[in-house]
């Protein structure tokens, strides 16, 4: 069985966001790029499944739609333990475009399980996984918090309001990963970093596809007021402040 993990290349979560070109683009000067945190969890879970010899996963691949600046991020995915990386060489214009490109790749290179993060920490669109399943005409399981294989059967937990849903299903499917799928993203080991040098990073050409949306303008949220710490011995002071300053009581 083969797993494909979709990887979005996003600015480090501590980046101070600035815009360029009349607020129509994110200014990426000086930005540190990372694997989208949800995708990193999906990748970690995929690798755990492959390492567990009781099931039959034999390959974990990662795919990204992006330009060459994604390569370092893909090599990190290889260092963490993916076997192969594919970069579809195009600017990721919108979710439809990205899902369409990945779907086209999968049609020619089938996978049993396709994983994507529930959202990406840059635009938080939450759309690629769902669109991908539509393109591929297979089920999409959203908000997946557990993925296990028991005697060949795939068992999935989904977070639903106030509880969880347990599903059993057949591959192929698209799993849309939520936090909880694994404990923590994996830190690449020295050996993995070294082996990543020799693993394939395949760059493929995009197919002809038009984006369905375009960005008109970005706007920064209002600056948050600074945080005030009040010691636990001064609870009355806290209540007073909530009344007089925050005016929420």
């Amino acid at each position: 069985m083969k797993i494909l993990v979709c990887i979005s290349n996003v600015p480090d979560t501590t980046t101070k966001i600035k815009f360029a070109n009349n607020n129509t683009q994110v200014d990426d000067a000086g930005v540190q790029w990372i694997i989208n945190p949800w995708d990193e969890l999906a990748l970690t879970r995929a690798i755990e499944l492959k390492e567990d010899s009781s099931n039959s996963f034999d390959e974990v691949c990662v795919v990204n739609v992006g330009l060459a600046k994604s390569d370092a991020t893909l090599r990190k995915a290889l260092a963490i333990g993916a076997d192969k990386a594919i970069r579809i060489d195009a600017e990721p214009l919108d979710a439809y475009f990205v899902a369409g490109q990945i779907a086209d790749y999968i049609k020619n290179n089938p996978f049993d399980i396709v994983l994507s993060g529930i959202e990406s920490s840059d635009y938080n669109g939450s759309s690629v996984g769902g669109m991908l399943s539509e393109f591929l005409d297979c089920p999409a399981i959203s908000s997946m918090t557990k993925l296990e294989v028991d005697n060949g059967e795939i068992i999935i937990h989904r977070a639903i309001p106030g509880g969880k849903q347990v599903l059993e299903l057949q591959a192929p499917f698209v799993g849309i990963v939520q936090k909880g799928i694994t404990n923590e993203p994996r830190i690449p080991a020295m050996r993995g970093i070294m082996m990543a040098r020799k693993k394939p990073l395949e760059v493929v050409s995009p197919v002809d596809l038009k984006a369905l949306s375009h960005i008109v303008e970005f706007e920064l949220p209002q600056a948050k007021a600074s945080c005030r710490m009040i010691s636990e011995e001064r609870l009355e002071a806290l209540v007073d402040l909530l009344k007089s300053e925050a005016k929420v009581l």
Partner: protein
């Protein structure tokens, strides 16, 4: 000239940073206060490959360059220098010598498990009467024909209580002065070896420092490292590289304290503004940033020279001297910037200050580095 790191070097630095922030930071204050050996953390350090990152892949190491090692040491030392000293001693004082001077059999038996992190190595040079003056070795290893018989005391041994492998320095022919010194590679559990109590230290309290006593310890002939009489050279050459490790540790202590101080100075307000807006504090931070940057270049330059196969003894002594002095200065200022909070444990900087002091002492005191450097000027 090229100041750019490779993608791989950046990845190693980020891995070390993630590891330090996620796995070393929790509990670091308690481990220091109660002098608890970081067993779990050292195990993870081994799993991630940091304990043998400089060892060649053919001996189960990471095969990484020294520049990467500096980057990883800095990140880990920002958070927990008790862990980074174990990493430094294992990599540069023990594994390096075995890889460079060891026989194939020694590499198989001793190097591979240390490179994997399955076993930890300790470096036994210092003695009660032989610290700065390392030639005054009193520990003797008498050639008994089929084995050496070792008697003596080693002092201040990092990982002395936990290491499985000792790289031991002892006199075989005291009359030949330092040409009569040899190095040996031994299991720490040989009969006749005993370990003194854990030293109750000012800083790096979680790393276990011990005296080690040798009482008629038999060491097989094949456990001598290198040629007969090469021991002092092996020790000094190992320290040349070791100083890059300790310099990077000092760098990490400085940059770790600086990052905390920079953050604090933007949050703490006095007289109606953030303290970073008082010039006295802003200038302190500017001085700290400059000195840290200089220390980083010293460390990376020494590492680069070593990676290029060029002589690096002078550069590593300069890096060790400058970085250790910077660490002491910067951590002291970081405490100052924190005011009263700097003097209590939960803000970390007081610990970094206590730890910085050690970098001016071990692997050659700052005074000894000046001796090395000034001799180098005349060479």
């Amino acid at each position: 000239m090229n100041f750019e790191l490779t993608e791989e070097q950046e990845m190693i630095r980020d891995a070390a940073r993630d590891f330090a922030q996620r796995e070393l930071l929790p509990g670091v204050i308690e481990r220091d206060e109660n002098a608890i050996y970081p067993k779990e953390q050292v195990k993870r350090l081994g799993e991630l490959g940091f304990l043998g990152m400089l060892v060649g892949t053919e001996y189960d190491g990471g095969g990484m360059d020294t520049v990467s090692y500096v980057l990883a040491m800095e990140e880990i030392s920002k958070v927990d220098a008790s862990v980074s000293v174990i990493m430094s001693v294992n990599n540069s004082l023990v594994c390096w010598g075995v890889q460079k001077y060891g026989s194939e059999a020694q590499k198989e038996e001793f190097l591979k498990p240390m490179a994997r992190g399955d076993k930890i190595g300790a470096f036994l040079l210092s003695e009660p009467e032989a610290g700065s003056d390392a030639t005054s070795q009193r520990t003797t290893a008498v050639d008994m024909g089929d084995h050496y018989l070792v008697n003596g005391i080693k002092n201040w041994i990092t990982s002395g209580g936990t290491a499985s492998t000792y790289l031991l320095i002892a006199h075989t022919h005291p009359e030949k002065k330092h040409h009569g010194i040899n190095a040996f590679l031994i299991d720490s559990n040989l009969e006749g070896i005993s370990v003194g109590p854990h030293e109750n230290k000012m800083g790096m309290r979680a790393s276990d420092t011990h005296s080690v006593m040798f009482n008629n310890v038999k060491i097989p002939k094949e456990n001598r490292l290198g040629e007969d009489g090469q021991g002092f050279k092996i020790a000094m050459k190992s320290l040349e590289g070791g100083r890059i490790g300790i310099a990077s540790q000092a760098l990490g202590l400085a940059s770790g304290a600086y990052e905390l101080a920079l953050q604090y100075a933007q949050e703490r307000k006095t007289f109606g503004k953030e303290i970073i807006k008082h010039q006295a504090i802003a200038f302190k931070l500017a001085d700290m940033a400059v000195e840290i940057e200089a220390a980083r270049y010293f460390c990376l330059k020494a590492a680069w020279l070593k990676d290029q196969g060029k002589p690096y003894g002078q550069a590593s002594a300069m890096a060790k001297l400058y970085a250790a002095e910077t660490a002491m200065k910067v951590t002291t200022e970081a405490v100052q910037i924190h005011g009263g909070n700097g003097y209590v444990k939960e803000y970390h900087v007081e610990r970094l200050m206590r730890e910085a002091k050690l970098t001016q002492i071990y692997e050659g005191t700052s005074e000894i580095q000046k001796i090395v450097i000034s001799r180098g000027l005349l060479a």
